[in-house]
């Protein structure tokens, strides 16, 4: 366990930036906090919710994956060293989910893992909910991590208490910016953790809904009613840190062509349409059912991890109030 003075956060990240490209939440105007490489705006030193999670670093909205030229096919693997600071516990858990998904059937997605194997993740625990739509504790998880991380920062006022759980993390803590911890830091840490668990946040009744869904499913009419509100924008998927659906397309490039992978969403009609024109998810209601049920019913069964980490971004983004919080509440009303 070590300490880092908050005033030393920026110099520390700058120092690290010499070895790895460092991303962190930065405010670019009064409203928006974005995750970007250092230097885009003012570094946010408190836990905060970026509008898009750091999933976009590992699985970008649009990426080049293959270059087809007369010399053959080149697989484009981005193996640049990166680091990210300020990842919250919920977002870290989403990465664990995406890891499992991208390695399913023992077939590892090369484009994802090229980036994943070269990223150093520095998480920052939340002392209290960072937005009105946070509900990680309701999903049965804590606003901090118990295991699996390299480095976890805790906000202790004027300084961070920093834990390492890996050799990579230990190496980082060798930097001169970190100082030894105080004998009281352990106690402070327990207090921060206790308080963060007690902090009031959204409590739609996640566990109750998940339990009910084990033996039941809402009737199609339930989803059809929600579909009268849904405008099928796909925003819920694009901001979701565990959504991994993608599309592939080719575009002419230097006499050959480039193959791109982009985000996609199961909320779109064409996503599940078959070549014959038949669509097993033809109605918007059935697509809503698929999206939400697979997160909280199928994913836990298939991957042993919940497809929802309680970040609340879908509830932030949805223009018609159909995020996970609202869906859980509605299911619990059945």
């Amino acid at each position: 366990m070590k300490r880092l003075k908050k005033e030393n956060l920026a110099p520390f990240l700058e120092e690290m930036n010499n070895k790895r490209t460092v991303y962190c939440p930065q405010s670019v105007d009064e409203k928006d906090i974005i995750l970007a490489p250092l230097g885009k705006g003012k570094i946010t030193d408190e836990a905060c919710k970026t509008s898009i999670s750091f999933k976009s670093m590992l699985f970008p909205q649009k990426e080049e994956i293959n270059n087809f030229s007369k010399d053959g096919v080149e697989k484009i693997l981005d193996t640049g060293k990166t680091a990210v600071f300020g990842v919250r516990a919920c977002d870290f858990r989403s990465m664990e989910f995406v890891d499992a998904f991208m390695a399913r059937n023992e077939m590892k997605d090369p484009f994802y893992f090229a980036k994943r194997n070269n990223i150093l993740v520095m998480t920052l625990a939340c002392n209290c909910p960072v937005s009105e739509t946070c509900f990680c504790t309701d999903t049965g998880k804590a606003p901090f991590l118990e295991k699996g991380f390299d480095l976890q920062f805790f906000d202790a006022g004027s300084f961070y208490i920093v834990e390492s759980q890996s050799r990579e993390g230990d190496k980082v803590l060798e930097s001169d910016y970190f100082t030894g911890s105080d004998s009281k830091d352990g106690e402070t840490l327990s207090k921060i953790k206790d308080n963060s668990m007690k902090a009031e946040m959204q409590a739609p009744g996640f566990a109750k809904a998940v339990e009910w869904l084990k033996g039941n499913e809402p009737e199609p009419e339930f989803w059809d009613d929600l579909a009268t509100a849904c405008i099928a924008c796909g925003g819920c998927s694009f901001v979701c840190p565990t959504c991994t659906c993608s599309n592939i397309f080719d575009s002419p490039s230097n006499g050959g062509f480039m193959r791109f992978r982009t985000w996609d969403t199961c909320m779109y009609e064409g996503f599940s349409r078959e070549t014959s024109g038949h669509n097993p998810r033809g109605s918007l209601g059935s697509r809503l059912a698929r999206r939400y049920l697979h997160k909280i019913k199928d994913d836990p069964e298939n991957y042993g991890v919940s497809g929802c980490v309680g970040c609340g971004r879908c509830s932030d983004a949805c223009p018609v109030g159909l995020g996970m919080i609202e869906i859980i509440k509605q299911i619990n009303r059945i």
């Binding site: 009268t228 509100a229 405008i231 982009t262 779109y268 009609e269 064409g270 024109g277 223009p319």
Partner: protein, 528 residues
């Protein structure tokens, strides 16, 4: 829009007429959806088709295409007979009420039912609901304007709002939803045949003198210019020899495409300025490649009249220039040097020439999220909703409007009514959206919506090919059988260049605005 978008939050009744809001203005639609689902606001939907808003409507009126004037006159007849009109508002704020009321007398529920095909009881319910609050909003789009009676339809909406005093206060008004991100701005800047910026009439000597002085030129033309459709006719007659098109694809978007084809081919000089090649640019002698929105600075004026600043995010592609620079270069070569260093200097000139934009400066736009006009001075905060206390012309004028039928009604030879519009994944002629892999996947090919009963009598199923034919042309299309369209009506879109639905539409136009009747033409259908 007379209102601002945020005012949707407090409206009690929405009358959506001729707007497929969820498809074409999804975020504005989300305001209506939330109002209905979350706080019990009421929706009167007047649309022949079952659009996405239909399940949320309290009343869905599926009137015959092109019968809007009769429908609204019918509402007014009911409101007057039930004494639901706002007498104080009529007295204090309007004129010509009696003459309007006299004509409306004829439009009894039974009479209107005969024209529109709507049950009289439903008409009464809708009229009563609209008149029941002072927070009723009319929302319309191209379903109102793209008719030969388009101007009449708009005036009818204004009549109805004035009759019930539903205008000039928060959350009550008449709200045309603009179909493009800056079509409001283009019109505001005088992109019309008869006005200078800020709708200052070119026929007005005082206005012409003002612009002559400001621009240092002699004798600005006093004659009204031509509308797009008129230009097509004049090219065919040989009166126009050169055409300069910017950011428009009339070969696909204009009615009667064969006519447009002849016209474009006849031109001695066609210049097309756009960000991508289009079917129209294939006719061009000169193509001027323009920079796209992300490659330039500028402002956009959205549907609520809000002028918003947009900054360049990327350098323009090699060989392209922002539109304003292209225009300046052309002007310089034509002998009238326009020297602006950047768009903010153009805005400085707009501030001087255009009273409604006088106080909208780049400096102010940098500070916030835009300013809605009218904004007459640098101290003025902008205007949330129009016509508070006073209309632009003083008193609001009730127009006397009689119903006229559409130009081309179905008959024995062409028994179906074709109506056209847009669907969610695509924008207009698809020159941008059809280049985007996922959007094109969402709607990869053209189709014709047809009612199940009609499909049955034609013996076609979804996916079958049919020939749809009008007096102007014919197309082979896949059918999509759906009760979203009423019996006798078929629907298609103008997104697909490979099957251009505008080969079938007709050039009949509204006599005032010149807008073509895209929403109604007669067609026949047979199995392919």
């Amino acid at each position: 829009m007379t209102n601002s978008i945020d005012e949707f939050e407090d409206a009690s009744v929405f009358m959506v007429i001729g707007s497929n809001t969820t498809s074409n203005h999804p975020l504005i639609s989300s305001r209506i959806i939330n109002a209905v689902r979350q706080r019990g606001a009421k929706l009167i939907l007047c649309d022949p088709r079952c659009i996405d808003l239909a399940p949320l409507s309290s009343i869905h009126i599926r009137h015959k295409i092109g019968s809007d004037v009769a429908l609204i006159n019918g509402f007014m007849n009911i409101i007057l007979n039930k004494n639901l009109e706002d007498k104080t508002f009529i007295e204090e704020r309007t004129e010509n009420f009696e003459k309007m009321a006299e004509v409306v007398e004829k439009y009894t529920p039974d009479y209107v039912s005969g024209i529109t095909g709507v049950e009289p009881e439903l008409l009464v319910k809708a009229a009563e609901l609209y008149a029941s609050t002072k927070r009723s909003m009319i929302v319309y789009a191209m379903g109102i304007t793209q008719h030969i009676a388009g101007t009449d339809n708009v005036k009818s909406c204004a009549n109805l709002a004035m009759l019930t005093g539903n205008i000039g206060t928060p959350s009550s008004g008449v709200n045309p939803l603009r179909g493009q991100n800056n079509v409001q701005g283009a019109c505001d800047m005088g992109g019309l045949p008869n006005v200078y910026s800020g709708y200052q009439p070119a026929a007005d000597l005082f206005v012409r003198n003002k612009f002559e002085k400001l621009w240092g030129v002699d004798k600005l033309p006093e004659k009204k210019g031509l509308t797009v459709i008129e230009m097509g006719h004049e090219i065919e007659k040989g009166n126009i020899k050169a055409l300069y098109i910017m950011g428009e694809n009339p070969f696909i978007s204009d009615p009667d495409a064969k006519h447009m084809h002849r016209a474009l081919k006849k031109l001695e000089l066609l210049i097309v300025q756009d960000i991508f090649p289009t079917p129209t640019s294939e006719f061009a002698h000169v193509i001027l490649p323009a920079a796209c929105f992300a490659e330039r600075d500028g402002t956009y004026t959205n549907t609520e009249r809000r002028v918003q600043l947009s900054h360049q995010a990327l350098p323009p592609l090699k060989g392209t220039l922002p539109d304003w620079k292209i225009i300046c270069e052309i002007s310089k070569r034509a002998g009238f040097p326009m020297d602006y260093n950047d768009p903010s200097e153009i805005m400085d000139e707009i501030n001087i020439t255009t009273p409604s934009y006088a106080g909208i400066t780049y400096e102010r736009l940098e500070q916030g999220w835009g300013i809605p006009w009218p904004c007459p001075s640098k101290e003025h905060p902008g205007t949330k909703f129009l016509h508070k206390d006073k209309f632009t012309r003083g008193r609001g004028l009730f127009h006397v409007i009689e119903y006229i039928p559409p130009a081309e009604l179905p008959d024995a030879e062409y028994p179906f009514t074709l109506t056209t519009g847009r669907i969610r994944p695509h924008f207009h002629t698809g020159t941008m959206t059809r280049r985007t892999a996922i959007l094109d996947r969402e709607a990869p090919s053209p189709f014709l919506d047809i009612n199940p009963e009609d499909a049955k009598s034609l013996r076609v199923r979804t996916g079958d090919k049919i020939i749809v034919e009008s007096r102007r042309g014919s197309l082979k299309l896949s059918v999509n059988v759906t009760s979203d369209v009423p019996k006798g009506v078929v629907f298609s879109t103008f997104h697909f260049k490979e099957k251009n639905i505008n080969e079938l539409t007709l050039c009949a136009v509204d006599p005032v605005a010149g807008i073509p009747e895209y929403k109604n033409c007669a067609v026949s259908i047979r199995r392919s």
